[in-house]
């Protein structure tokens, strides 16, 4: 049985740009799918198709068991959409905004008012309920926008980059609200550029780039695909980089990556803390002075880079406009959770990974040029 959100072969082109290039999705009821990708990847376009805002050129989709193309109006009764830009009327008060949305969901005036009061209470906006939204802080507007999407308690929710541009405290608050919502059984599709956000909120993650889903799985499965843990060393002097690389070649399981600016050398390893001690001894014996050394589990940042060949944040001219400088901070700490599960997942995914990486890399180079001038999605997602 297809899930609460289901899509098959979605294609949407804007001029020369294939914003969606054959996207399949299947989100089981009551779960959260995190759709991860950079600006212009096609995330917003996918949400727009699923929420009936645009029609795909090809493919089919169902939301809450209803065909999106055949019965858009029935779909609209079952969904809530919270956009990247807080789509509330800034000259109306919080209460007026929510009451209006309730009325437009065809509630009676009295029901709409009652529901608005409930939501204002729940989203900690009761004190500001009768002030115009113009006076709200960024975080309050997002909460109001989210509340507007929840007026009818829809079974399926779409959130398009709900925390883009929010400060950490407000982001945390919004995450709490979303988690509460999901605990109540709502099916959620969430797009984000923040790897940490997908990690934190989503059961499943699909990585989107250039209109395609290039990987999917749980956060741990995806992390496992990048080859497990790695050692990261920062040497004190630049002239020690070469010798460090040589040493690491003996310990590592793959190519090391060097960042000459920060004098950081990273290499995938297997062997954990014991290996770390050996590496330190060996480097010490060769007289290499180490500023910092650590063992870290891959973050979704690493997953993204290994899959797409570029980092998740704005990487080039056209995208910089949209990036707000917080692109891919990720969780540098590295998480210990799920290490056991990931080993098994790695085995399963192992064969696929190399092929996937190759395809992704090829696609990246080919499609880059087209996407750099990306009008439709990048433009849309880039506007502040």
């Amino acid at each position: 049985m297809p899930g609460a959100i289901y899509a098959e072969g979605l294609v949407k082109t804007f001029g020369d740009v294939r914003a969606l290039d054959g996207v399949d999705l299947d989100v089981p009821e009551g779960t959260v799918l995190g759709m991860l990708g950079p600006n212009g990847a096609g995330k917003t376009t996918a949400v727009r198709v699923l929420t009936t805002l645009i029609r795909p050129d090809r493919g089919r989709a169902e939301v809450a068991g209803i065909d999106v193309l055949a019965h858009p109006d029935r779909v609209r009764r079952s969904i809530g959409l919270s956009g990247q830009f807080a789509a509330v009327d800034e000259y109306l008060t919080g209460r007026e905004n929510l009451t209006m949305v309730g009325r437009l969901y065809q509630m009676s005036a009295r029901d709409a008012k009652r529901r608005a009061a409930e939501l204002l209470e729940r989203f900690h906006l009761a004190d500001a309920a009768d002030r115009t939204a113009k006076t709200y802080s960024g975080g309050m507007r997002r909460r109001l926008d989210l509340a507007a999407a929840l007026v009818v308690s829809p079974p399926v929710m779409f959130m398009d980059e709900p925390t883009t541009g929010l400060d950490p405290r407000n982001r945390q608050q919004l995450w709490d609200v979303i988690q509460e919502l999901v605990a109540g059984g709502t099916t959620l599709l969430l797009t984000t550029q923040y790897l940490e956000e997908a990690d934190r909120l989503a059961h499943d993650i699909c990585v989107v780039d250039h209109g395609r889903v290039i990987a999917r799985g749980t956060s741990d499965q995806l992390k496992a695909r990048t080859g497990g843990e790695r050692v990261e060393i920062v040497v004190h002097a630049a002239e020690h980089i070469t010798v460090t690389e040589q040493v690491l070649r003996g310990f590592g399981k793959g190519e090391s990556a060097v960042d000459p600016h920060t004098r950081k050398i990273t290499v995938p390893v297997a062997g954990g803390a014991k290996l770390l001690a050996e590496i330190i001894r060996e480097l010490d014996s060769r007289g290499v002075e180490i500023d910092d050394i650590g063992l870290r589990r891959p973050t979704l940042d690493d997953v993204f880079i290994s899959l797409t060949g570029h980092v998740a944040e704005a990487t080039d001219g056209s995208r910089e406009a949209g990036g707000d400088g917080e692109g891919g901070t990720g969780d540098k700490g590295g998480k210990a959770a799920g290490a056991g599960a990931s080993a098994a997942a790695q085995e399963r995914a192992g064969g696929e990974t190399a092929a996937l990486r190759e395809t992704a890399a090829r696609e990246t180079t080919v499609a880059r040029e087209a996407a750099d001038g990306d009008s439709a999605d990048a433009g849309k997602e880039g506007v502040k």
Partner: protein, 269 residues
Amino acid sequence: MSGMSDSLVIARRNVTRMVRIPEVLVFGLIQPIMFVVLFSYVFGGSINIPGGGHGPSGYREFLMAGIFAQTVTFATAGAGAGIADDMHKGLIDRFRSLPMSRGAVLTGRTLADLVQTALTLVVLAVVAVLVGWRTHENVASVLAGFALLLLLGYAFSWIGALIGLTVRTPEAATSGGLIWLFPLTFISNAFVAVKGMPTFLQHIAEWNPFSATVAASRELFGNTNGQAVKSVTGAWPMEHPVIASILWSVLIIVVFHTLAVRKYRSATA
């Protein structure tokens, strides 16, 4: 029918906005008031209207229907800017994701503009009376004249709605809603007698939908100096201005309502 109640919900929203951003209404009033004063006192002494408008006071009577009509057509810019702003802010996306009537966002907008146009006309009429404008027909006839003006304004706000959905930014919608209004309102019978124009302009002016409403309300206000409205070129709308005015406005509403709602269905910010 949910269409009407949705439209009223949106209209109420837009009227609320209007009250909270009174600058828009105020600035919208300054321009026509300026026109009333400037045309009356600057041109009033020099322009002689054939058929007997004697001097400044005669021109003032002739002029007001034209200024009123021009003012109501400026609703185009308001509607366009409002819709474009909603697109830009993502509100149209929200509305389009709701199970509401497809035309309601636009109807709600145009209805709110109608309220604004009516308020503007009231203020303008007071100013007109202050500078010496008088009507010479009964109250019902005068009100009918204003009703035709409102209908024209409503029709033009549908043109604005289409412009707003097409251009996507409020700034472009404002200028896109205004520039063509100047030739449209000046190549007409609004400010001068058509008789003085070159022949080809006379034809354009007399078939101009705008001229029909000007002629009709001028007649209903009794501002024709006691003479029947006459066409220079024999154009039908000038011989039957009231009917022509209604027909033109209804035609504009039907055409632009259809186009705008179709555009709205596929509108993406």
